[in-house]
């Protein structure tokens, strides 16, 4: 038998508060066991309800390392589906299979490239769906803050078409886990980074599996709290990230796609087509045509950080923060390794001489460059 002291008022002081919190954490785990009972729905019912709103998507791919399938979430009774923008959708014939086995052709309505979120449409009616919250394009919540009604420690289920094991009317896979933390995404996928820099939910269950991308993350009440992200690795450690895009970001991405229309939203996020970090600084490098394209500056955007720091067209970047960069991709890698806010100093060769330029702290993704 375990008992724990539970003072009536946790306002006696910081130390006391800490004591209470510690004691409470022990109880929370046990209480969570009965949570489902208290909420009126069993985990089995919660999962079954969620799975009806999740679809299996089939499109392009099938070659080694590139699966031709992923997951989507129904967000309108008329058949709007949010999913992750990926090569799977690079197909004229995207197939969508509902929980009951019904198969529909899906059309790509548009995409939010920054969130790597795509919206598909199928010709359905009265489909079971999640209603996404209506949010304006507010500033992202600060790191670690509770968003979408969840916080670190919230127990969740991940519903996805992982490994493509569910076909036809077979139900998508359910995994259980906990939201470990809510932090900005800093990731790479192969050599590339994810353009999204806002908060994500880091999960303690393995969701970075083939086909999981676009799956639903639901809480034990059955509410949609996020969308599973694609397979990414952490920039710092190289480990595979198990993460989800918070539902409010999903909602923003969805609304922005609906508001913008296909052409506008399918355009690349950076007008110059350059990787995001470089673009953030206002640097436009020469097109990346070779394996090791030398990082010559093509142009500098007016009013940008780079312009303020005195960078000019035709400068050749040779070092970032004192470490040499031999190619365009090396520049990108160096910048990618920096955290938002880290100082950025570039060394360039101009007219045969070395010039140092201080670009100040690395701008935050999502902020205006």
């Amino acid at each position: 038998m375990r008992t724990c002291a539970m003072p009536e008022t946790p306002t006696r002081g910081a130390s006391l508060l800490a004591f209470v919190v510690t004691a409470a954490i022990g109880a929370v785990g046990a209480v969570a066991l009965l949570g489902a009972v208290a909420l009126g729905a069993t985990p089995e019912e919660t999962i079954a309800g969620g799975a009806r709103r999740v679809v299996k998507l089939y499109g392009a791919g099938g070659v080694r390392g590139l699966e031709a399938y992923q997951t989507g979430i129904l967000v309108s009774p008329q058949g709007h589906i949010v999913t992750v923008l990926s090569t799977v959708l690079d197909s004229d014939g995207i197939d969508c299979v509902l929980d009951d086995g019904r198969r529909y052709p899906a059309t790509l309505l548009g995409a939010d490239p920054r969130r790597e979120l795509a919206v598909l449409s199928i010709a359905g009616e009265d489909l079971p769906c999640y209603e996404l919250p209506r949010l304006d394009e507010a500033a992202p919540a600060p790191a670690g803050a509770a968003v979408g009604g969840v916080s670190p420690g919230t127990r969740v289920f991940a519903l996805s078409n992982l490994f493509g094991v569910a076909v036809g009317d077979e139900r998508v896979s359910a995994q259980h886990g906990v939201i470990s933390s809510i932090v900005p995404l800093e990731a790479r996928r192969g050599a590339h980074e994810a353009p999204y820099r806002g908060n994500v939910y880091i999960l303690d269950c393995t969701t970075s599996n083939p086909g999981s991308a676009g799956g639903a993350l639901i809480d034990w009440r059955g509410r949609l709290v996020g969308m599973l992200g694609k397979e990414l690795r952490a920039t710092a450690t190289g480990v595979w990230l198990n993460y989800a895009l918070p539902v409010d970001e999903v909602a923003r991405g969805y609304r922005s796609v609906l508001g913008a229309g296909v052409d506008a939203t399918l355009a690349t996020p950076e007008p110059d087509g350059l990787p995001y970090d470089v673009a953030l600084l206002g640097i436009v490098l020469v097109p990346d045509l070779l394996d090791k394209t030398p990082p010559f500056v093509e142009s500098i955007r007016d009013g940008s950080v780079a312009a303020g720091a005195g960078l000019r067209a035709d400068d050749l970047l040779v070092a970032v923060n004192g470490r040499s960069v031999a190619s365009r991709s090396a520049v990108q890698q160096r910048l990618a390794a920096l955290a938002d806010g880290d100082p950025v100093q570039v060394t360039v060769i101009r007219d045969g001489g070395i010039v140092e330029c201080d670009l100040g702290p690395k701008p935050r993704a999502g902020g205006k460059p």
Binding site: S15, E44, F163, R171
Partner: protein, 646 residues
């Protein structure tokens, strides 16, 4: 150390360290102050709250749930087996009976051969011997020896498992357990009725459970348990792909219902095959699952299934997708007979079909001996190619040169087509004893006289002696020689060989299986009631709705007997009552099927079918098993005329 601590606390960078001595003094001072402050705050807090702290008990429900989970895991742990296959690695297993039968994966025992060492959570090491193999299903049955009170886990009904159910695996991942206590990994059921294509050439996982409990190399063969600590599956496979051979939250377990369906065959020391319908199906444009090809030699064809017929259900489970049919077939042993519902031109038909084997016994033997390529998908134990001349765990006509530890002496006997024939003899003996107990007969060779009435009231009389079998029917009298080969023209005409079947039945009941010819224990099959499958009728779902185990029928023991070219199968109930005989005068033809209705002693009724036809329903009013003697009193063996199924 402390200075680093202090720097972090104070947020100061450098200055405190600039002068070594004064820096350290400051550090110590801070240290003292900090700890003193903590003590004071703690003391004050205790004093302030001393009168107010309430001992709040964790709700009883939470404690009960936690206790139940701890107990379930303890039960599962006790049943967990750590299997060691010598240099080849090892894996896990799970005990399913007190006398030491444990289930595991074929791919775990394959490198071990016939004998292996098994550790239990009590820290003791036991000798174990291979009993039966189902290579296609990746299942093996082993028997631990040395106790008759092994802890074991009950096989649950995996059809009741739902996605989201709590589950845990108890096994030996990475062969960590040097004290044999299993590692536990908990999770939820992620998916049910998953179909996993054969990896390599065989090892098909059909209708399996998918879990997010960590399944790692070495967990193979171990039990997957439900919240009550009952076995819902045997872990054996996982999706890995890119991340190396470690858990990514996607493991697969062979369902306990599939295991139960094979358990009888495995206990008989057999090399068990999986079933095939003899037909392939495809999804039609309108979503129906239709027959795309069918073998004319298959029983399904003989029962009327044709190209383009819609398959509605098999073994009582709906077939809505091609995968669904694979899922159902993949859990059935070859030789089983299950209900098939199909539809043609809107008309629904229901039949019982016998399922053939996927492989020839030679093919299976080759797989087991490592002659065929076998992938071991769920496992990461060091797999080394079998050395030439490695002992094969099956009998391939020659006795393999295996080292049998003294503890296992007499527990292994190789034979062609079997994994370990010793256990076939054990099971045959068990069933024979039951039959003898249920049907005691006085000595002597007096003929049996079975008499009664047919469905429409006409009398019949059957006389069975050691020399002849004769039946008097309203349509005429037939007779066969009971001393020679029984494979002469089946008599009476249209029955498919009723008299021969009854001759074997009498021999089994009077003298036991030894007199029948070459008799082996086959395993268990579902026993369908004698109700005929009714074609195209609304109530035709009765077959599928019957209570009992999966597929709608209780499992009963089967003895297989071969006398010359006649093959017979006896269905024996748990109490030893012989429920029926299927007799094939020639292979690949429809057998004569005799089904008896149990009575106090001998049967009260008999139904005889051949192919799709009912030959006759016999209400048995009297069976005389002794020569009529003056003044003799009726014995138990004489059946009062109280029965009849029609």
């Amino acid at each position: 150390m402390n200075s680093r601590f202090l720097r972090r606390r104070g947020g100061a960078r450098g200055p405190l360290d600039s002068d070594g001595l004064s820096g350290r003094t400051v550090v110590i001072a801070w240290h003292v102050v900090w700890h003193f402050a903590r003590l004071v705050v703690w003391g004050v807090a205790m004093a302030l709250t001393a009168g107010e702290i309430q001992a709040v008990e964790i709700p009883a429900g939470v404690r009960a749930a936690e206790r139940a989970r701890i107990e379930a895991i303890a039960r599962g742990s006790r049943a967990a087996v750590a299997i060691f296959a010598g240099e080849a690695g090892g894996g896990s297993g799970v005990l399913v009976s007190a006398d030491g039968y444990a289930l595991t994966n074929f791919h775990v025992v394959q490198p071990a051969g016939v004998a292996m060492k098994c550790g239990l959570s009590d820290g003791r090491l036991y000798d174990a011997v291979l009993v039966g193999l189902d290579p296609t299903g990746d299942v093996a049955l082993v028997k631990l020896v040395g106790r008759d009170d092994f802890p074991f886990a009950e096989l649950a009904d995996s059809d009741l498992v739902e996605v989201g159910d709590f589950c845990f695996a108890a096994g030996n991942p990475f062969l960590l357990a040097t004290d044999f206590r299993p590692s536990i990994s908990a999770g939820i059921v992620s998916g049910t009725r998953r179909y996993q294509f054969p990896a390599g050439t065989i090892l098909e996982y059909a209708d399996c459970l998918q879990v997010d409990a960590a399944i790692n190399p070495g967990n193979s063969g171990g039990g997957l348990f439900d919240a009550e600590g009952r076995v819902i599956g045997v872990n054996g496979r996982a999706s890995f792909e890119k991340r190396g051979r470690v858990n990514v939250g996607v493991g697969y377990a062979i369902s306990s219902n599939q295991l139960r369906q094979f358990l009888g065959c495995l206990k008989g020391g057999r090399l068990v095959d999986h079933a095939t319908l003899g037909a392939t199906v495809a999804t039609a444009d309108d979503g129906r699952v239709v027959v795309s090809d069918i073998l004319e030699s298959s029983d399904a064809y003989r029962r009327g299934l044709r190209y383009d017929d819609e398959v509605v259900s098999l073994a009582g489970q709906p077939v809505r997708t091609v995968n669904a049919l694979k899922n159902i077939l993949g859990t059935l042993p070859a030789g089983w007979r299950v209900p098939l519902v199909y539809r043609r031109a809107g008309r629904r038909r229901e039949v019982l079909v016998r399922l053939a084997g996927l492989h020839t016994s030679g093919e299976l033997a080759k797989i087991v001996s490592g002659g065929a390529e076998t992938e071991t998908p769920g496992d990461g134990e060091e797999k080394r190619p079998g050395r030439p001349g490695d002992p094969a765990p099956h009998g391939d006509g020659q006795k393999p040169a295996v080292d049998i530890p003294p503890a296992l002496a007499g527990l292994y006997e190789p034979r062609n087509g079997f994994t370990n024939f010793h256990f076939n003899a054990v099971e045959l003996d068990r069933v024979a004893r039951r039959v003898a107990t249920r049907h005691p007969f006085p000595a002597g060779d007096a003929p049996w006289v079975v008499s009664g009435r047919l469905e429409k009231g006409q009398p019949f009389r059957i006389e069975l002696s050691d020399q002849r079998a004769t039946i008097d029917l309203p349509t005429g009298t037939s007779s066969i020689d009971a001393t020679g080969e029984l494979d002469a023209t089946p008599a009476p005409p249209g029955s498919g060989g009723l008299l021969a079947a009854l001759v074997l039945w009498r021999r089994l009941l009077r003298e036991g299986p030894a007199t029948l010819g070459r008799t082996t224990y086959w395993g268990t099959v579902p026993h369908w009631s004698t109700e005929p499958p009714t074609e195209g009728q609304a109530g035709a779902g009765d077959l599928t709705a019957a209570p009992g185990t999966r597929g709608g029928a209780p499992l009963v023991d089967v003895l297989d007997t071969a006398a010359a070219s006649v093959e017979g199968r006896f269905l024996v109930a748990d109490d030893g009552f012989v429920l029926g005989i299927d007799l094939w005068p020639t292979p690949d033809a429809d057998p004569c099927e005799v089904r008896f209705s149990p009575g106090e002693g001998l049967p009260t009724a008999m139904e005889v079918r051949h192919g799709d036809e009912v030959f006759g329903r016999f209400r048995i009013e009297r069976i005389d098993v002794e020569a009529p003697a003056e003044g003799r009193q009726d014995t138990d063996a004489e059946t009062p005329a109280d029965g009849g199924t029609t």
